[in-house]
Amino acid sequence: MIRLSGITRTFYMGKQTIHALDHIDLDIQNGEYLAIMGPSGSGKSTLLNVIGLLDRPDNGQYKLDGKLVSDLSEAEQAQIRREKIGFVFQSFHLIPRLSAAENIELPLILSGIKPNERKIRVKEALNAFDLLDRAAHKPAELSGGQRQRVAIARAMIMHPTAILADEPTGNLDQQMGKEVLALLEQLHQTGTTLIIVTHDRELGNRAHRKLVLRDGKITADKTHDIN
């Protein structure tokens, strides 16, 4: 589980001080489906980046599965990102010179997994995300929805405990957005923690727990019944 206590992240822009995260206390259980909402600039991405160990808080403690991770070395944090966290971005962030299959394969390569096993796992993922016929295509040859499917396949190929998605549907039309969200929710069904940043109220309402941020503070934290 994720436990943030007293997390602050402050940016200095000239004379201006921006409290992107202002003493955040937050617990997220494994397997939760959480939406982070709030106006633009309220600190949603910063919170997600801190949870994903991409950004270091200035103050406070972050425990992941009972282990204090905020003070770990760069390489140790990289290992946690590799093994426990999958990122999905608004702008997909696929590597343009690599094919869909190779983009999905990247986390396996970074983990030093053998080529034979990589091949099998990539094949499974392509199959699961309905991308088999697009395996050899470069990102430029894929539609937006397909690109985001590749990105999600890449995020889950290591079977992370948590998927962190920062406005994953922001660059997609409504239909594709719905499909992508359905995929993410499927992953959540298999037990993965799903944290989605969005300012689409409808999407946010689908989550079991909804967090609202404003000026770096949590102003609402509502849990629906899961029926």
Binding site: L54, A75, A78, E83, P107, L110
Partner: protein
């Protein structure tokens, strides 16, 4: 990430940024090719000179009249006299030395050669029978002072002279006139062409006593000495100086030059020249290195978002650093290999064009050219790779 995967991934990058990669590889390969071809030329010149020297004899010592040391005054000069002559008597002393295999006294002059209504000025060498083997000359026909006859009026003609004077007749057995004296042609030199600025095809050789009377002198131009072995050269030099000194009123007024010493000097000079040329060519590799550095810095900028992504999916700073090093290694290895090939093709073409010039690249230059290319290529990557590895992932990801 395994090293294999690092190199595989970076190879993909090298291939997909095609134009950029080709430019770097070209710059690298030009530098390496320059090192390889230019050192081949330098070393070719060195070998050329050495070949020329050894073509005039091996284990060779030359005894000259007069003292030519920088320290100590020239005894004759102090007294206002010319140095004491070297004579045939001196040359006979040398035969007694155990290190000496054979020797040839030498007189050189010009005289008019006439026969069969022809007349021309020729260079005359006066010597003994051993001159021919000592100087690595060969007789095409006949003999010179065979069977111990040391002072008969025999003459050996250079190949071209024999052809000129007796185009239709057998030259051997003909009589010719050299200056006022008559000689019997007993031998003809094999054509050898020019070596060390001396064309043996247009000389004549006569016995040294005959030459001395022809030129009306008792002195020798020099004495050529061949030692029995290479190791005997230095002892022979000392022994010659000693025996001459004893025989010349304890006065050391001759000079002994060893062919080795001359060769060593040329060898040193030309080797230094080759090194200098290699150094200059290597500078072009440093230039290529700076090019690699700049291109890689641009690459880090271009690929910022990608580096951020790699970090987000779990790449360590170390992985990113290695990816950039691997990329530079690919570029450098390809450039060095291509340059190696182009350089050797260049040397080959030089050898084809100038058959006299053995333009082979020394092994050290091939190795040094490749190593310098690899090292500069990889050094050039330190800064860009460090920059990439230290990128802030959040910043990098937000860049488009």
């Amino acid at each position: 990430m395994t090293l294999t995967d690092t190199f595989r991934l970076s190879l993909r990058t090298v291939i997909s940024y095609r134009l950029r990669s080709i430019l770097i590889i070209l710059a690298m390969s030009l530098g390496v090719a320059a090192v390889i071809t230019l050192t081949a030329l330098g070393d070719g010149a060195r070998r050329f000179v050495i070949n020329q020297f050894s073509s005039i004899g091996t284990n060779l010592l030359v005894v000259l009249p007069g003292r030519s040391e920088t320290s100590g005054a020239f005894p004759g000069a102090v007294l206002g006299q010319t140095p004491r002559d070297l004579t045939l008597k001196d040359s006979r002393l040398l035969a007694r030395l155990p290190q000496v295999k054979r020797y040839a006294p030498l007189n050189v002059g010009e005289a008019e050669l006439s026969a069969a209504n022809r007349l021309r000025e020729v260079t005359v060498l006066g010597s003994n029978a051993d001159l021919i083997p000592i100087r690595h000359m060969k007789l095409a026909q006949g003999s010179f002072l065979a069977h111990g006859s040391t002072n008969s009026a025999q003459i050996v003609l250079g190949a071209k002279l024999a052809q000129e004077f007796f185009p239709l007749k057998q030259a051997i057995g003909q009589r010719v006139r050299l200056g006022e004296n008559r000689f019997l042609v007993t031998g003809i030199l094999a054509p050898q062409g020019e070596s060390m600025g001396f064309n043996t095809d247009e000389i004549v050789i006569i016995p040294v006593e005959q030459a001395q009377s022809l030129f009306n002198t008792t002195s020798l131009f020099r004495i050529l000495v061949e030692t029995k072995t290479h190791d005997a050269i230095e002892p022979a030099k000392r022994a010659i100086l000693e025996i001459m000194k004893q025989n010349r009123d304890d006065e050391e007024d001759i000079t002994v030059i060893t062919q080795d010493a001359i060769l060593a000097t040329f060898d040193r000079i030309l080797h230094a020249l080759t090194l200098a040329v290699a150094g200059i060519a290597a500078i072009s590799l440093i230039v290529a290195g700076t090019l690699v550095m700049n291109v890689m810095l641009v690459a880090v900028n271009q690929r910022t978002a990608e580096i951020g992504l790699l970090k987000a999916i779990g790449a360590r700073a170390e992985d990113i650093r290695l990816l950039f090093f691997a990329e530079a290694t690919w570029l450098s290895i390809t450039g060095a290999t291509l340059g190696f090939l182009v350089g050797h093709i260049g040397s080959f073409l030089f050898r084809q064009a100038f058959s006299q010039l053995p333009a082979w690249t020394p092994v050290w230059a091939s190795i040094a050219g490749i190593l310098v290319a690899l090292i500069t290529g990889i050094l050039a990557c330190i800064l860009p790779a460090k920059k990439a590895a230290q990128l802030n992932a959040v910043h990098a990801l937000s860049k488009k």
